[in-house]
């Protein structure tokens, strides 16, 4: 397996996106719309007594949620381009060339990671511009550029590592776009059943005790910490937990994915 082969495949994948505008648009436009609707609709949430984040405008509180949502939406789409190759049979044609199996899969993950990172930067830009519109100041969050890069890396790793692996495994198993899209609501619910949109003290009791089992909750805490408070000690704790969570889950999902792919070859 040569690195130059992976690079050639990676560049080809990136070029492919310009012919898949729906994939790009879908995972970008939906979160932006949500952002605009939610921030206007629920903006009185910040005034609810007892809200620990009451001193932040609601649109800032939900920015991390929208980032995670973009990461998840974008990752559910990460098998779209792969499915095109699987269904035309081109994937198999390439298996008989140096592109073989592993380089094709690795290059696919690399290009999906790149695409997702760019989309995440776009969403962050939108939120910064929205902040300027409301407050009149163009400013980066407390943690600066480094903070934004960390946010993007965390969210993209979670998206591609956890969601992307599962979705790609499903693509190999079913070869069907519908099957892949069908798991979508599952991840959607995962984001809602967390403190993404509402601080925990305002959540119903049962949900407050359930969110500890929701992996996306840990990611949201880390991203929100960086975004709202900067790299404080408590943020660093959240980041450590989020990173461990990503590593453990990605190990599991990539094992599942590896098995599914090797089994799909008779």
């Amino acid at each position: 397996m040569k690195f130059s082969t992976i690079l050639t495949l990676y560049i080809r994948n990136l070029k492919q996106y310009k012919r898949l505008p729906a994939v790009l648009a879908f995972s970008f436009i939906v979160p932006v719309i949500q952002y605009l609707i939610f921030s206007n609709l629920f903006n009185s949430l910040s005034d609810v007594p007892g809200n620990p984040y009451g001193n932040y405008p609601y649109y800032m509180y939900i920015t991390p949620a929208i980032i995670i949502l973009t990461a998840i939406f974008g990752s559910v789409n990460s098998s779209a381009a792969l499915l095109v190759d699987l269904n035309t049979g081109y994937f198999d044609k390439l298996r008989a060339t140096p592109a073989s199996l592993a380089p094709q899969v690795i290059a696919r993950f690399m290009s999906e990671f790149t695409r997702l990172s760019l989309q995440l930067f776009l969403i962050i830009t939108v939120s910064i511009l929205y902040h300027k519109r409301i407050s009149g100041v163009l400013e980066l969050p407390e943690a600066g550029i480094l903070g934004l890069i960390t946010i993007v890396l965390l969210a993209a790793s979670f998206g591609i590592g956890v969601v992307g692996n599962l979705v790609v495994a499903l693509a190999f198993k079913t070869k069907s776009e519908q099957a892949v899209q069908a798991v979508f609501p599952l991840f959607f619910v995962a984001v809602f059943m967390s403190t993404a949109y509402v601080p925990d003290v305002l959540l119903p009791d049962w949900l407050q005790s359930a969110i500890v089992y929701n992996p996306s909750e840990y990611l949201i805490r880390a991203v929100r910490g960086i975004f709202l408070e900067g790299f404080t000690d408590s943020t660093m704790d959240s980041v450590t937990i989020a990173v461990s969570c990503i590593i453990v889950l990605t190990t599991i999902t990539s094992t599942i994915n590896y098995r599914t792919i090797t089994r799909s070859i008779d």
Partner: protein, 318 residues
Amino acid sequence: MSENNIVVVKDLEKKYKSGTHAVKGINFEVKKGEIFGMLGPNGAGKTTTLQMMGTLLNITNGKIKILEYDVESDSSNVRENIGFALQEAGLDSLSTVKELIAFHVKLFGFRGVEIDRRVEQSLSLLDLHQYSDQMIPELSGGTQRRLDLAVSLVHDPKLLILDEPTTGLDPAHRSDLWTLLKKLKTEKGITIVLSTHYMEEADVLCDRLAIIDSGEIVAMDTPQKLKKTIGKDRIEFKLFESLSEEQIIALKDEFGEENISANDSFFTVRVDDGEETLLDTLKIIIQMEIKVKGTKVLRPSLDDVYLKYTGKRLEELS
């Protein structure tokens, strides 16, 4: 194993997970510069065999060596040196003809001006210039097959594996392709293994043929020798009226009982060389006062060979 053998297949077996025993221990060798054909009915195991050669399927039992490389343990060397056009030409549906060829050139490690040179060469070789900026799904099926072959050849493979390369081509493009494959063989010394349903293709294109049925090779030789195994030529005589008992006896006396078969409207005589002996045979028959309406010489065809070994008619397939 001799150095001349580009492909060596030994006791090759494939059992799919579904339980289908698609290939049941076959053996063959392909020499450098040979065009080796696999002929067989649907489901015979041709694609399964070719895909195991092309590193696309796991081998259940047995061995395949390609250019001395073991297909299982040395698969990356095999992939560098073969070109494989699958039965279903599946190509990148999100790219243009030129982009696709260039991508394949790069996959084999070529860089710089060499990329343009090979793309150009490839477009010319398969007469694809007029389509170079077209999106692949817009191409006709036949053009896609030619493009598939073009990208399988960009790196000058030593072995070309073609699964039904001319299915879906019109007669003109089919014979163009035969000419091209023969040219690749004579000018570049490329070895070709292909599967086909077309008898004519097997006959005019292949140096050697394996007839495969139900996962087994039932016959393997040059097309000429395979046809010889069928036996003699036959001369068929159409009749105005059916033969009398006496005439049949006279015919059997003259040509030997085993060489005559007759029914109401015609009879046939088996001879060693139909064209050479036609006139003499006809003279004898006229002397017997048999009224002949017409005549034709029947030489054993690959179709007969196929029928003999598989019990099926090839023409029904295509």
